[in-house]
Symmetry: C2
Subunit: 454 residues, 2 copies
């Protein structure tokens, strides 16, 4: 799909390349550690669902600059010939410690730490932040819809208004990981093995000279898996017609699966449609709803007891409309054995390689997290960062979605309820170890003394 | 990049395929016309900048289902073998009327009309809406930043937090079309020929044992094109050090290009930094600002007279954070000579193939638009939809960005100022022709009579 002669090596902010040349010319390529973390949680988010690791590992393993990449860079007349030769032979040789995909994370907790020669670790920033930011925000948004739906079916309808093909496919995967039941995106279903679903749009109904005929034509093609869209002209008239077609299917030993409501007051219409179907002895025909829904509307419908069996959610969820970005950053924390940090206004970071421990209550529920220096132990607590790549090679195969999905569901159950609230969630406790706090303070003081002239 | 055995033919909502099978089995594949338009303008938008056409035309011209696509569909056990054979041979054979890329558009105006056999026109919906929705919203958001910057330089920094690689590249292109001066996204610069820029991140400074040494190392590599990032530890201390390095460069016949502020109160810091530089006889060293900026903050800084020469804008602009989606829809308006429309609650559409005319004042500025039936003429007004593809073949080569960009700038100058306001813009007048209004009313009445039982 969309192949070009260029590689993803070029998907990098230009400054990564100019810095790399400056490092290379200066012989400055010692071991560096970078932490990828979220500086803050977005608005109305009490947690994030970490995702994107496997795409990051694929990228690192495949990273190389192709001849067309190098030719393009040469054409800019900004780079040294020797540096471009170096770049053409560059591979990622570092190691990666990371949380598992689907881990529930909080502000300031590193989700990935990269240890590699400085130039390699620098060049990968743009791609790493992009993958993790996007997939994490999408998995998080999707988990909120699943929570709001309280067991009702949820299907991804986001393909047409996600931000591009890449984002649409990643939303399908991230939302399935977070508990969705399927997707309408056929390509994503093929790529990731996600159940695919979908039946008809308004155009089918409008292309026939009568609504009921269009229903009959469709039901002939899919006599046991039809969901009839009933709101093209008038939802309740459409529901009556769907009941007629359901009767006809019954007579031939088939069953209408569901009707779909796509506009109007869904609470009121679902009640009336349910009454029509029940009145026609069609209690087994389900009601599916869609049309600009997000977790807030799904919550309201479920809370009000709307007789809706499943939801299709698209646009607002697929772009995480209320929080379309995270404050994800990738920061140098150690260079050549020297612990470093940034002091910029309000943006101080935690120095050095780190580990995150999760302390649980006896029932498995989360008590609090502790961020420590790497290679420390916290009694009875579970370390969340694991080595997943060494010397540029993956250490383990990717876990499949059918492992990630139930594990996420289990872990989400362990997150305290206050953190799951759709509005103004409770902030989960994340501690910093005394030792790390002391290190931070020490590096801050040393750095200020050295660099700040006021 | 990311090649897979599957084609973009599969990037379609599953219902497009099930409907296609129902049409095929029913022999229902007459000529259809679909209109792609924006039902409403998003929040705080007085206009949209149409973009995405060339990607749509590429897709239509290349559309075909590959053997792996067909194998995947077969594996679902939902499709007829004859239908899958038909699909394997399907090509897009229709015609396309469209506005030019970069055209300023308003609610309900068709930007693309597709005329093709029903199955072909149906299968392409997901991809068309995705391309046009995304690129239009990104070009529109970018145009607001250019407007707010009032001639100051604006650079795309969105690559790391755009929604995936596809969106990042499309933002680079759309923002350049809308007037940005360049991008930090190296891949997008290579793909689209956009000027690329960028110099250093905080990690460069932190990787050295002193900030001033890091500046010197970088300046040695790029003695005439350095922008020194001064806020890693303390913005004004960093500015003083940059002045020292600028002096050193001067002595060797070089020039420091700029400094970059990336945090803190940018108005206050830019004034103090300007004073430091001017005091050191460095009036030609420019000040560049970045750090979570969008059109609102750029406007405030420019309005307050901040001595900032250029802005780097990323996250909030690259995801169009205040309006991350449009109400873009693709609706059947005519099937086999029969004019159709949808009556769903609040979502009535304009029936039949259409044309949009722009009426200008004598100075070229926009007076109002009129939506008419297709093949009509409006005296002295300019039709906005042009035939760009016939029988599945492009009629004209794509216009290059260096044609689209100045034309957009010219047209934007003709849009009444009230429509450009960043908050609560004035709504530009879009009329519907009397004839079209009468047709709509007639089709509404006929459809209600036929389909609505209350």
């Amino acid at each position: 799909m969309s192949p070009s002669a260029f590689s993803l090596g070029l998907f990098t902010d230009f400054y990564e390349l100019t810095m790399a040349q400056a490092y290379w010319q200066d012989g400055h390529n010692g071991p560096a550690t970078f932490s990828l973390f979220f500086r803050d949680l977005p608005h109305d988010r009490g947690y994030l669902v970490f995702a994107g690791l496997y795409d990051v590992l694929d990228y690192l393993q495949e990273l190389r600059f192709t001849a067309p990449d190098i030719d393009y860079l040469r054409s800019l007349h900004r780079f040294d010939v020797g540096f471009l030769d170096y770049l053409q032979n560059l591979r990622f040789t570092g190691s990666v410690r990371a949380m598992r995909e689907g881990t529930i994370v909080f502000a300031n907790e590193p989700v990935i730490e990269i240890a590699a020669p400085l130039i390699e670790a620098q060049l990968i920033e743009t791609m790493l932040v992009n993958e993790v930011n996007l997939q994490t925000i999408l998995a998080t948004k999707a988990s909120r819809v699943v929570y709001a739906a309280r067991g009702r079916q949820v299907i991804d309808f986001a393909a047409r208004r996600a931000h591009g093909i890449d984002a649409a496919n990643k939303f399908s995967r991230a939302s399935y990981l977070a508990g969705f039941d399927g997707t309408s995106n056929t390509l994503a279903s093929a790529l990731y093995g996600i159940p695919v679903s979908g039946t008809m749009a308004h155009s089918l109904i409008m292309s026939y000279d009568s609504e009921i005929n269009s229903f009959r034509v469709y039901a002939r093609s899919f006599p046991d898996s039809s969901t009839l869209l009933v709101d093209t002209y008038d939802t309740l008239s459409g529901t009556h017609k769907s009941a007629v077609v359901a009767e006809e299917l019954k007579k031939h030993g088939h069953r209408l699966q569901a009707i779909r409501l796509d506009s109007g007051n869904l609470l009121e219409l679902s009640r009336k449609a349910r009454a029509i179907l029940d009145g026609a002895a069609l209690k087994d025909v389900k009601i599916f709803a869609s049309g600009g829904l997000d977790e807030f509307q799904v919550h309201d419908l479920v809370y009000a007891g709307a007789p809706i069996d499943g939801f299709g959610v698209g646009t607002k969820v697929g772009v995480s409309a209320d929080a379309p970005w995270t404050d994800s950053v990738y920061k140098l924390v150690d260079y050549d054995g020297r612990t470093v940090l940034k002091l910029s206004n309000m943006k101080e970071t935690l120095p050095g390689p780190k580990q995150v421990f999760r302390q649980r209550n006896s029932d498995g529920s989360y008590a609090y997290d502790i961020i420590t220096q790497a290679n420390r132990l916290v009694d009875k607590a579970e370390p969340l960062l694991h080595e997943v790549m060494a010397n540029g090679k993956r250490l383990l195969p990717d876990e499949p979605l059918n492992v990630l999905r139930p594990r996420f569901a289990q872990e989400f159950a362990y997150l305290p309820a206050g953190g799951k609230a759709l509005h103004s969630p409770t902030m989960y406790e994340v501690r910093t170890s005394v030792e790390l706090e002391r290190l931070r303070e020490q590096v801050v003081q040393e750095t200020k003394k050295r660099e700040v002239s006021r």
